[in-house]
């Protein structure tokens, strides 16, 4: 714990808004109670999550060091900060930044906190938040006070709450927007913050605002509530409102949001969002957290019934003056441009040859003549404390004290005078923040993955770092059709890196090779972030991590060579079909034996032998491939066939194929365990009794979700299913196969460990 923490409490006593000061004090009291053993683990965990204090990898006090699992013996002894979470283990502090809007002083404070309490780096997330890693829980109340003193809260940054409300970073300045969504996003964020109707959710709840229907800056369609600006004429007046979408979401199986209404007048925005929140709290799943997101509720009820319930709830809501009061003070949150004719420094264009490239890639015209917006790309979303201070100086010098984080983990400087661009460029170069990569294939989005996330399977940041390095080096020579493709990586199926909406997406999985776990990435092609995230990529094949760069090269080369005039990547993927794309890279799925080349069994940016379970991977039992591995590979092939059928519109056959391959995988896993089940119903029953009831199949983090995909698919295989449902089923079949592989890795490792123990 930092020695100055008590002093900061005194120092800031009169500088915090009263409500915030009380909330933080309450949290500090909860910390004290927990240390005294007077607060339940689960209660405390939810309390800290609601203050943005999240767990981090190895916080159970166990870490696989490449040779064995080592217990990390922290001085706190048995004290925990949640179930199986050691008090002293470093954690992550998430900092909520509504719509990504910040000023220079706030940047400076985040820099101070990164330096004093974390590892000197602040990380921008895909939801426009900041995250600080390696933070001790004892320091968090001081962090919160220092943030509160500059108007930032961490409240409800994690937990089953309304998470950071996001919005297009170009809001207010975009030439294509219908209107500036900033004041509405702001009002929504602060209206719902701590609102009593938002305290009893079964899961998190995400809201996004977009200023237009076409661009990818808002990604409204992947949210629980997505709001897209609309205008309509009514009695000769232009009326502002929103197209409202509900029940979208990524995660293991992505859902496209459903249309709730084509036009919701802005006066109805807050009461309608409130009513939706109430329906989610009342009807959403509470016990099974894997079915508790709003997308499942919308699916279960159907959009018409969901809408009826919300409208009924809206009619019952007692009038709240806050619904409209923000509309009156609307202008307060609009940024005032600096005077145009008053350039900061008169500078001629730099001689740096990269200046022109930077202008082309990183600078966008605003709808206000004479002003531009400048993207500041951050490698993997990271920025150092030193750079944050330099950026704060730049914000003060070139903007009306405003900057935004973007969902692509970058910053956006707004209201820059065109005449200031040469000087701004030079200042950004001095801060190492002028890489001309914005919006390019090298500007890769990556979630924290195995670097710090408890759920990470493979190193998404390691992979992104490697791809970024390679692509940035030859970006200038890349064909323009390739240079603007978007890559997103996630460390696991949970999609924090938003891999589903990338042209080329990756998520981490593991595979077994003769008793050794091998890091892999599932490749997804053809997702589309445009039109607010209008379509999701489908998985092609899992590639060993170390071969991903090679696979990417082949995909890019094929696109460049075979692309038809005017054809974009999404259309190319559709035309080529998954089978031929898979064939293009299938040879890269081969992994050499461990003895021949152990480097394949080590993830990017790591030196340890790869492990997903924090237990020692099994000793190689010879180079024999088990029948289970063969059968799972065969199921993968059948799944590819099912996806091809689906693409051709033969949905029912695709669906039956998916059900069948899941059954085959389940049977193979049972046989590997020594359980024989011949008849279909017997396989299902034995799968339940041997693998579900025993929880052997359960994923360490999502429990029985993947097993349920199979059981539900099998149960409902004779019921009618629409195209959407079959598309989801195909995704679920892929996840079920991944889970079979993972289960095999876990059980094989455990079996091997037992054998080792038995050796005298």
């Amino acid at each position: 714990m930092k020695a100055s923490n008590p002093l900061w409490t005194q120092q800031l006593a009169n500088q915090l808004p009263t409500g915030l000061a009380e909330e933080i004090q309450q949290f500090e009291d909860q910390i004290t109670l927990k240390k005294q053993g007077r607060l339940d683990d689960k209660v405390f965990m939810e309390a800290r999550l609601r203050r943005g204090c999240y767990g981090q990898r190895y916080d159970n006090g166990q870490r696989h060091d490449g040779v064995r699992v080592r217990t990390l013996r922290y001085p706190c002894g048995d004290l925990t900060k949640g179930p199986n979470t050691v008090w002293d283990a470093p954690g992550m502090q998430r900092i909520k930044i509504p719509y990504g809007g910040l000023n220079a002083r706030q940047l400076e404070v985040i820099a101070e906190l990164a330096e004093e309490y974390a590892d000197g780096v602040a990380h921008v997330t895909t939801r426009q938040d900041f995250q600080l890693h390696f933070v001790h829980l004892d320091d968090t109340p001081t962090i919160m006070r220092r943030l509160a003193a500059v108007g930032i809260t961490t409240r409800e940054a994690c937990g089953n709450t309304v998470r950071n409300v996001t919005a297009c970073s170009m809001a207010g300045i975009c030439p294509d927007e219908v209107f500036d969504v900033t004041p509405y996003a702001r009002a929504c964020a602060y209206y719902l913050l701590g609102h009593p109707d938002c305290q009893a959710f079964g899961r998190k709840f995400k809201i996004a605002f977009s200023g237009c229907p076409d661009k990818p800056c808002g990604l409204a369609r992947i949210h629980d509530i997505g709001l897209i600006a609309r205008e309509r004429c009514s009695n000769g007046h232009v009326q502002r409102g929103f197209e409202v979408l509900v029940g979208g979401g990524l995660g293991p199986v992505p859902y496209q949001a459903k249309l709730f209404t084509e036009f919701l007048p802005v006066e109805e925005l807050l009461p309608t969002v409130q009513a939706i929140a109430r329906i989610f709290a009342q009807h959403g799943e509470k016990r099974n957290r894997n079915r508790a997101r709003m997308k499942f509720l919308v699916e279960k009820l159907g959009i018409d019934e969901f809408k009826r319930l919300v409208q009924q709830e809206r009619a019952r809501l007692p009038e709240d003056p806050a619904w409209a009061s923000y509309l009156e003070e609307h202008g307060r949150y609009q940024e005032s441009p600096p005077p145009l004719g008053d350039a900061c420094v008169s500078t001629s264009p730099p001689e740096d040859p990269r200046y022109q490239t930077w202008l082309e890639r990183n600078v966008q015209r605003q709808r206000q003549a004479g002003f531009v917006a400048v993207t500041v790309p951050l490698p993997l979303g990271d920025i150092t404390a030193e750079q944050l201070r330099q950026l704060a100086d730049i914000v003060r010098r070139y903007t009306p004290d405003t900057i935004r984080t973007t969902i692509e983990q970058n910053f956006l400087l707004r209201w820059v005078r065109e005449s200031d661009l040469p000087a701004l460029y030079q200042d950004l170069v001095r801060a190492h923040l002028a890489e001309p990569l914005a919006g390019s294939i090298a500007d890769i989005t990556a979630c924290p993955g195995t670097d710090t996330c408890k759920l990470g399977i493979a190193s998404s940041r390691g992979l992104a770092r490697e791809l970024r390095r390679r692509l940035a080096a030859r970006l200038d020579s890349l064909d323009p059709s390739l240079a603007t493709l978007r890559i997103k990586t996630s460390g696991c199926f949970n999609s924090c890196g938003q891999h589903h909406v990338a042209d080329i997406g990756f998520y981490g999985v593991s595979r077994n090779r003769s008793g050794y776990a091998v890091p892999h990435f599932q490749l997804l092609l053809g997702g589309n972030s445009r039109r607010n995230g209008c379509s999701y990529g489908l998985p092609i094949v899992a590639i060993p991590s170390k071969r991903v760069p090679e696979a990417l090269e082949r995909i890019l080369a094929c696109f460049q060579a075979e692309r038809q005039p005017g054809e974009d990547f999404h259309a190319f993927v559709q035309r080529k079909g998954k089978e031929s794309l898979k064939a293009l890279i299938e040879d890269l799925t081969q992994v050499p034996p461990h003895d021949a080349d152990p480097s394949w069994y080590v993830d990017w940016s790591d030196a340890r032998e790869f492990s997903t379970e924090d237990i020692g991977v099994g000793e190689c039992a010879g180079e024999v491939v088990t029948p289970l591995e063969f059968e799972l590979a065969s199921c993968e092939r059948e799944l590819l066939g099912a996806q091809t059928l689906f693409e051709k519109g033969v949905t029912e056959e695709a669906r039956q194929s998916a059900c069948r391959l899941m059954l085959r995988a389940a049977r193979a896993l049972l046989e590997w365990l020594g359980v024989t089940a011949r008849e279909e119903e017997e396989v299902v029953a034995r799968f339940k009794s041997e693998l579900c009831d025993t929880q052997l199949f359960f994923d360490p983090f999502v429990g029985g979700t993947f097993a349920n995909y199979f059981l539900t698919a099998w149960e409902q295989r004779s019921q009618p299913a629409d195209e959407d449902a079959v598309r989801r089923l195909l995704n679920e079949a892929q996840l079920f196969l991944d889970a079979c592989h993972a289960c095999y890795v876990r059980l094989a490792s455990a079996r091997s460990a037992r054998r080792q123990e038995a050796i005298p």
Partner: protein, 210 residues
């Protein structure tokens, strides 16, 4: 801001600047630091390795421990090995300061000897930076600098044999930065020996108080 009182200052960092290093010195540290974790090579509870080599400045590769972080660091464009204390230490300012110097010195010497570097990594033991990672107890102000520099002078005078070395202290950074002090040693007998004498004579011991 509170008045700077050296004995209240915790979380002292010590950085020895690199003299020579290969271009991939950060990448090479990753297997080394993982091995240190396996071997429990340091006094601290070693937890993990954080790789920030993709950032052109700032922390490069960090060996994260509970009590402190070790890092190959490029903050302010000054490459070196840093030991940054995180938990509280008992004892005087002098004890804490020399403890951090000792840990940085030992880690630097150990790193230089690691086979990955093949003798291509070396440190300038005459060039140090002391970092006070607490803006409230040690702000980067004229007043704090005056107090800290006097205290550093006093410690060096008292610890180093007469005429064995001269030194120059320099305040680094601006008021928003952490207070950082560059220590430039001039020692005819060689800086490495002098630093060894300095930390040996104090023989500080760490007592984690939290």
């Amino acid at each position: 801001m509170t008045t700077c009182v050296p004995d209240r200052i915790q979380h002292i960092g010590a950085k020895v600047l690199a003299a020579t290093f290969p271009p991939d010195w950060l990448a090479l540290a990753i297997p080394v630091f993982h091995r240190w974790i396996q071997q429990e090579a340091c006094e601290e509870l070693l937890i993990d390795v954080a790789d920030y080599a993709h950032l052109p400045v700032g922390p490069g590769v960090i060996l994260v421990a509970h009590e402190a972080n070790y890092g190959l660091d490029r903050t302010h464009g000054r490459p070196g090995l840093v030991y940054q204390r995180k938990t509280v230490l008992e004892g005087s300012f002098e004890t804490r300061l020399l403890y951090s110097v000792r840990q940085a010195f030992r880690a630097a010497r150990r790193l230089m000897a690691e086979p990955e570097y093949q003798g291509k990594l070396s440190f300038d033991f005459a060039a140090w930076e002391i970092v006070f990672n607490d803006r409230l107890l040690a702000p980067n102000t004229e007043q704090a600098w005056s107090i800290i520099s006097q205290e550093l002078d006093r410690i060096l005078k008292s610890r180093l044999p007469l005429d064995s070395a001269t030194w120059r202290l320099e305040r680094l950074g601006e008021p928003r930065d952490l207070l950082r002090v560059a220590v430039h040693l001039e020692c005819p007998a060689g800086a490495e020996q002098i630093v060894e004498d300095l930390i040996a004579s104090s023989a500080p011991r760490a007592h984690a108080a939290d």
